[in-house]
């Protein structure tokens, strides 16, 4: 199943490697080798020190649900993809990333452990990272 007709990212020189890695099954974060900040979304310059010694770092692809909302109505979104769980996942490396969680909207909870998976797009070099629920710590 392809991501479309959901909206697809505009690929830029700064983000091209991120989407291509996703197509290979890897979730990338950015890491500033000057100040040590690990961040998301990708930028060529570090948002803490503005240094340009930024390198890609492969994330473990695991984390927990920091927050989530369940959209029952969403203009411009495919009807058959509702309800939609929009979430911030706090990755084990630290950054909170906006994403979708593939989970039963009535079962999901803040704090749930999640793991990344990838949905192909019609573009071979672009896949979309999403998360699946893998259990609860508590």
């Amino acid at each position: 199943m392809s991501w479309e007709p959901r909206p697809v990212p505009a690929v830029t020189p700064e983000s091209e490697a991120f989407w291509a890695a996703a197509a290979e099954g890897d979730l990338l974060l950015s890491e500033c080798t000057d100040c040590g900040l690990v961040f998301h979304y990708p930028r060529a310059n570090c948002p803490d020190c503005l240094g340009d010694a930024v390198e890609w770092r492969e994330a473990a692809g695991t984390g927990e649900v920091y927050s989530y909302a369940v959209a029952r109505t969403l203009g411009g979104w495919p009807e058959d993809d509702l309800p939609l769980v929009v979430a911030y996942v706090e990755l084990d490396e630290g950054p909170r990333v906006l994403t979708n969680v593939r989970a039963d909207p009535d079962e999901i909870a803040v704090g749930d452990r999640v793991a990344v998976s990838f949905v192909e797009t019609e573009e071979p070099d672009v896949a979309i990272p999403v998360f699946e629920s893998v259990g609860r710590d508590r």
Binding site: E14, Y41, R72, A87, T99, V110
Partner: protein
């Protein structure tokens, strides 16, 4: 001591649906209304502030209105822009750059057929490709903030509903309110789900309309017959994703409020009336905490028991019915926040909700607290304080 600066005119367009008018026409009508309220000749306007106007905003608007400003500013931080504009206008007046600043807002999202939670298709910014592709809209993003606040502090949907209830009780006295019927906590809880935990009645209206205010120097004020409101303090701040460290339970009101109060030499305990941006119920709850009216996490308990209800609540808010029930023109609620605060300080609010107010606060939250937002706070003083 900084030279005093005043709000001399304020006008809210009575329309909530204007299919027969252009947006620019609404700008002209609110400009005319605010200048007439102040008793200022349009030819005296020497500064222009606006946001959200198509094209190059000050150029489009100056041309359309036939104005010749020597100062212009189109800072756009979403719905809070107009509160920022008043602060910027006050600084420009104090710098001697202008004496009569016109601030306008207008828009027609209702007539344009906008539905709740729209906008995912437009990928315009660098962030959109990491947010909108997942269904990030205002409804889902504020839903995330509400969920996190509930999870972290035990805030309940019933507590959030209290905010809508208070707004609706005020709206019943506003002949122009889009939703003038009082609602109960149960009505809010049982309204249809939009972006759980937010339901329909947790969300503001989508309305056409606009508003304008006129900011003037002491020299101009002294020549006017109209009761003016003093701009005592202004503060603003920007909150954002912070490289992945975003905290959904705090807004930039923590900083904008502190800055505005510091400039005014006042604190939350001096505020008699508050206009608080209400795109969603959670927007109000977080702002109340961040502005210092209660401690972080205690907003839910604070709003229980009619605290926000005029005229007898401890913190009467949005006595026009706010964006939740009355008006959210152009999807930007900052202007109407200023206008209702001016009404309160002049004693011109609807009589049933008029507060004995010497000091009012107007606060805006533009953009999205789920991603990035502008916060702007004004502390305003009445003529007799």
């Amino acid at each position: 001591m900084a030279a005093p600066v005043y709000l001399a005119g304020a006008f809210e367009h009575p329309t909530r649906e204007a299919p027969e008018k252009s947006t620019m026409q609404l700008h002209a009508e609110v400009a005319k209304g605010a200048l007439a309220d102040a008793g200022v000749d349009p030819a005296a306007v020497d500064a222009l502030f606006t946001a959200g106007v198509p094209g190059l905003p000050p150029l489009t608007l100056a041309d359309y209105l036939g104005l010749d400003p020597r100062y212009a500013d189109s800072t756009d931080v979403g719905g809070s822009s107009y509160l920022s504009h008043v602060g910027h206008a006050a600084s420009a007046v104090r710098d001697g750059k202008c004496d009569v600043a016109l601030v306008t807002l207008a828009g027609r999202p209702r007539s344009a057929g906008q539905d709740t939670g729209t906008g995912v298709r437009r990928l315009k910014t660098v962030q959109d490709s990491f947010e909108r592709i997942y269904g990030a809209t205002n409804t889902t993003m504020y839903g995330l903030a509400a969920r996190r606040h509930m999870a972290e502090y035990g805030t309940t949907r019933e507590q959030l509903a209290e905010i809508r209830v208070a707004a609706s009780r005020h709206a019943q006295y506003n002949e122009h309110a889009m939703y003038p019927d009082p609602v109960t906590v149960e009505d809010v809880i049982e309204s249809r789900v939009v972006a759980d935990p937010l339901h329909l009645l947790d969300c503001c209206v989508i309305s056409d309309g606009g508003g304008a205010v006129v900011v003037v120097s002491e020299d101009v004020r002294s020549e006017l017959d109209r009761e003016c409101v003093e701009v005592l303090g202004h503060g603003e701040a920007i909150g954002h994703h912070d490289a992945g460290r975003i905290d959904l339970t705090h807004t930039a009101a923590v900083d904008s409020g502190e800055r505005a109060f510091a400039e005014a030499g006042l604190g939350p305990e001096h505020v008699d009336y508050a206009s608080i941006y209400d795109s969603f119920t959670i927007t109000v709850l977080e702002a109340i905490e961040d502005l210092g009216f209660c401690r972080k996490g205690e907003g839910g308990a604070f709003v229980e028991g009619g605290t926000l209800q005029a005229p007898d609540g401890d913190l009467p808010f949005n006595t026009d019915g706010g964006g939740l029930c009355s008006n959210h023109p152009a999807n930007r609620g900052g202007m109407t926040k200023i206008i209702e605060a001016v009404r309160q300080l002049r004693g011109e609010a609807n009589p049933e909700v008029q507060v004995d107010a010497d000091v009012a606060l107007a606060h805006g939250t533009g953009g999205s607290i789920g991603t990035r937002h502008g916060a702007a706070t004004l502390v305003l003083g009445g003529a007799d304080r």
